[in-house]
């Protein structure tokens, strides 16, 4: 193909199309207007106008996690770009591939404190996998192709490209065949692991008497669902999923255990604790799982399969680190794993489940958050996409929704971002137009990003919002009650709006549920409604999430639900 003479803005569009982009989440401003000026020439690039740039980043993140493709967000210079930062940090912590394109002030004005100028490449250094300031239009094409390569390969993550206004306007040549050539001597992505690491892991698996798999987010990212299941079934290994590993393994499978850790199920934490081998697959042994590293699963050897060498031996020492892509590594391991039974061990895990009924809901006439999630799970048969933010609603969703469909759980696990649930669900819905998407929200997080309801309306996105509304920052209330002598401060939301009227104000359906016997009908009504819905579930004002292992502790300090 001959090189084409194009404006910088046109090069951005052509390069995005060549990367397979079909949707961009963004909000314009002065510095990025030359790019928006070209968009009408590229009708295949759908632009979704958000109401706040944080929403653009989270929507791109939800789109990326739910499709495995790179999500694209764009924003203008200064405040537009800084508004992206929470979304970029969220994506960085949870390894979501995003490319963010920001406008910058003109080249001559850079560094002069010009109107709407921020050093956004400086500001985003610690929250991006990589970033660029592009100072010549001829560099736009190669930069975009390199950025997509970095965002989606290895351990995925967000990449930001900052382009000055006059670079969008400058004319240069773009040649996809030439500009797609990547030259990054310091960036080598390993797929298969080296043989000696694989052999060591196989040896440990074949020797173990009480093995447990700890399936993490890496299984979802690598789409290694079949390989995980093959390993679990072949060697009869119970599967514990991390918080972000939820939906990596069918929850109706007999070997499924649940998620462990701070608010995980007691029997999942105890399964790890009693095991003699943990096969961590795409998990970084997060502090919410490990607690006190010296007392975490003390009798278990640890295999750690991870594509990122910097995660090996970070919180605990792995007996057998295996560096590579989860799917490729499991394909190396599975054929050599002995087909075996661990009958006594599996029975022990079943016994732990029976002894520690972490999912039992206490008897009450009140409507509890657990009731809502349980009903959502039952009515949707565990088949919906679920997005959550952070807090009690997130933990109840993780505990009580029984996922049967792979890659269906998108939650802000690492950064713990309130408000992630509202825009990420829009991105997930755009990426999966035929699936039912429920965003489970707290009333706190919902109010951080509810302006994106307008985006749902405008783009006819039939996301269902379940607000677990207790007029409290529930997890804050819980911690102040447990760890700050009941000194409750800044935890009550007495000024909440009427969420049903709010729905009506946006022209969308609103339903209020206050009793357990209304749950099923309301959820069915929401599911059947063709557009977006807000269901205001008015739940008990103060309720704690159990089980709980206090921060930095071990299973010995586990607090079961004092029913």
């Amino acid at each position: 193909m001959v090189a084409k003479k194009l404006t910088g803005g046109q090069i951005v569009c052509e390069a995005l199309l060549n990367e397979g982009v079909d949707v961009i989440f963004g909000l314009p401003g002065g510095a990025i207007l030359p790019f928006y000026g070209e968009l009408s020439k590229y009708p295949k690039l759908r632009h979704v106008l958000v109401r706040h740039e944080q929403g653009a980043a989270h929507a791109a993140d939800g789109y990326a996690r739910s499709t495995g493709k790179v999500g694209v967000a764009c924003a203008t210079s200064g405040p537009g770009a800084t508004n992206l930062i929470t979304g970029l940090a969220t994506a960085m912590m949870d390894s979501a591939p995003i490319v963010a394109i920001t406008g910058q002030v003109g080249r001559a004005a850079i560094g002069t404190d010009a109107f709407q100028e921020t050093d956004i490449t400086g500001a985003t250094l610690p929250v991006t996998k990589h970033n660029y300031l592009v100072m010549r239009a001829q560099d736009i094409g190669p930069t975009i192709h390199e950025a997509f390569h970095i965002a989606r390969t290895g351990r995925p993550g967000p990449v930001l490209i900052d382009i000055p206004k006059d670079v969008f306007q400058e004319v240069a040549e773009y040649d996809f065949a030439r500009d797609r050539i990547i030259n990054l001597p310091g960036y080598n992505v390993r797929t298969t692991a080296i043989e000696s690491q694989v052999e060591k892991a196989i040896e440990l698996i074949n020797e173990a008497e009480r093995p447990a798999i700890l399936a993490g987010h890496g299984v979802l990212i690598s789409q290694a669902f079949d390989e995980l299941r093959e390993l679990a079934e072949k060697a009869e290994i119970p599967v514990v999923t991390t918080l972000l590993g939820i939906s990596s393994f069918p929850e109706d499978h007999p070997l499924f255990v649940g998620f462990p850790g701070m608010h995980g199920l007691a029997y999942a934490s105890l399964t790890l604790d009693e095991s003699d081998l943990i096969v961590a697959i795409g998990s970084r042994f997060d502090d919410r799982i490990v607690g006190d590293p010296r007392r975490f699963a003390p009798n278990a050897k640890k295999i750690q399969i991870d594509i990122d060498p910097a995660e090996i031996n970070k919180t605990l020492v792995a007996d057998a680190p295996v560096i590579g892509d989860v799917k490729a590594v499991l394909r190396q391991i599975n054929p050599k794993v002995k087909s075996t039974k661990h009958t006594a061990w599996v029975q022990r895990v079943e016994h732990l489940k029976a002894e520690h009924p972490s999912l039992k809901i206490r008897e009450t006439d009140e409507l509890l958050g657990q009731h809502v999630v349980r009903a959502l799970s039952d009515v949707t048969k565990g088949d919906a996409i679920i997005c959550t933010g952070v807090g009690q609603h997130q933990m109840w969703a993780a505990q009580h929704y029984k996922f049967t469909h792979a890659n269906s759980w998108f939650s802000s696990g690492g950064l713990g971002t309130m408000g992630y649930e509202v825009p990420s669900a829009l991105g997930a819905q755009i990426g999966n137009p035929d699936r039912l998407v429920w965003s489970i929200c707290g009333d706190g997080g919902f109010q951080m990003t509810l302006m994106e309801l307008a985006t749902a309306v405008e783009n006819k996105l039939p996301v269902k919002y379940a607000i677990l509304n207790n007029n409290h920052l529930g997890m804050i209330t819980q911690w102040q009650g447990l760890f700050y002598d009941g000194d409750y401060q800044a935890e009550t939301y007495s000024g909440n709006p009427d969420f049903v009227k709010l729905a009506e104000a946006y022209g969308i359906k609103g339903i209020r549920v206050t009793r357990q016997d209304q749950l099923e009908a309301a959820i069915r009504e929401a599911n059947e409604h063709p557009g977006p819905v807000i269901v205001d579930f008015v739940i008990e004002k103060v309720d704690n999430v159990y089980p709980m292992i206090p921060a930095g502790q071990s299973v010995n300090e586990l607090i079961e639900d004092p029913l």
Partner: protein, 200 residues
């Protein structure tokens, strides 16, 4: 011979060498990973390497060994970092260059020049009231000279910071940087495996 001394923070100084792409912002990315942990960079030397487009950096940082080695692993993860090594426990050769400007009156000049001779340093500038000498060597040699010059009045000290490389292998089959006949002290914390590409 130890190449590690305790720095101002009380932690042992560790020497890290990195080969990086010569692009704007690389230094900020690298220093950011140390800043994030509150580490002081005791010295830093950067220059073009033997490979076009790549620069070599030598850092001396102060921090607990296992944390510095984890930072080294995170450095390796940076897109523009081609390779990185914590060489503190390796057999290395290192040098530092300093320019020392010292007060020198007609009375003291000869004594200072005598000292310069003993230390085999070059005098690179002489003014009416001062002279400047150039010294190359290890940290303790430079420190000793500065101490001895203090009584004359040290006006300025300009140090480049350490540059370091692994000593060449002493026999066939041995790796550069290995101690002859000694078991290399290998960290249990971060042990990159042979063939590990390092960066993702």
């Amino acid at each position: 011979m130890s190449n590690s001394t305790n720095g101002a923070s009380g932690f042992m100084q560790r020497t890290i060498i990195a080969l990086v792409q010569d692009r704007p912002g690389v230094l900020a990315r690298i220093s950011g990973l140390f800043r994030r942990r509150g580490f002081n960079i005791a010295s830093l030397a950067v220059g073009r390497s033997e490979r076009p487009g790549l620069s070599r950096m030598t850092f001396v940082v102060e921090g607990p060994a296992h944390v510095v080695q984890h930072v080294a692993a995170q450095l390796d993860r940076l897109v523009e970092v081609v390779e990185v090594q914590d060489i503190t426990e390796k057999n290395i050769v290192w040098r530092e260059l300093a320019l020392i400007k010292v007060e020198a009156s007609p009375h003291t000049r000869s004594e200072i020049l005598e000292l310069a001779g003993i230390f085999r340093v070059n005098v690179v500038d002489i003014g009416a009231n001062s002279l400047t000498m150039e010294i190359t060597g290890g940290r303790s040699k430079i420190n000793s000279l500065i101490e001895l010059l203090r009584k004359f009045g040290v006006k300025e000290v300009i140090r480049t910071g350490r540059v370091a490389t692994l000593r060449g292998a002493l026999s066939e089959g041995q790796e550069d940087g290995a101690f002859d006949g000694l078991q290399d002290e290998v960290s249990h914390y971060y042990t990159p495996t042979a063939g590990d590409s390092g960066s993702v």
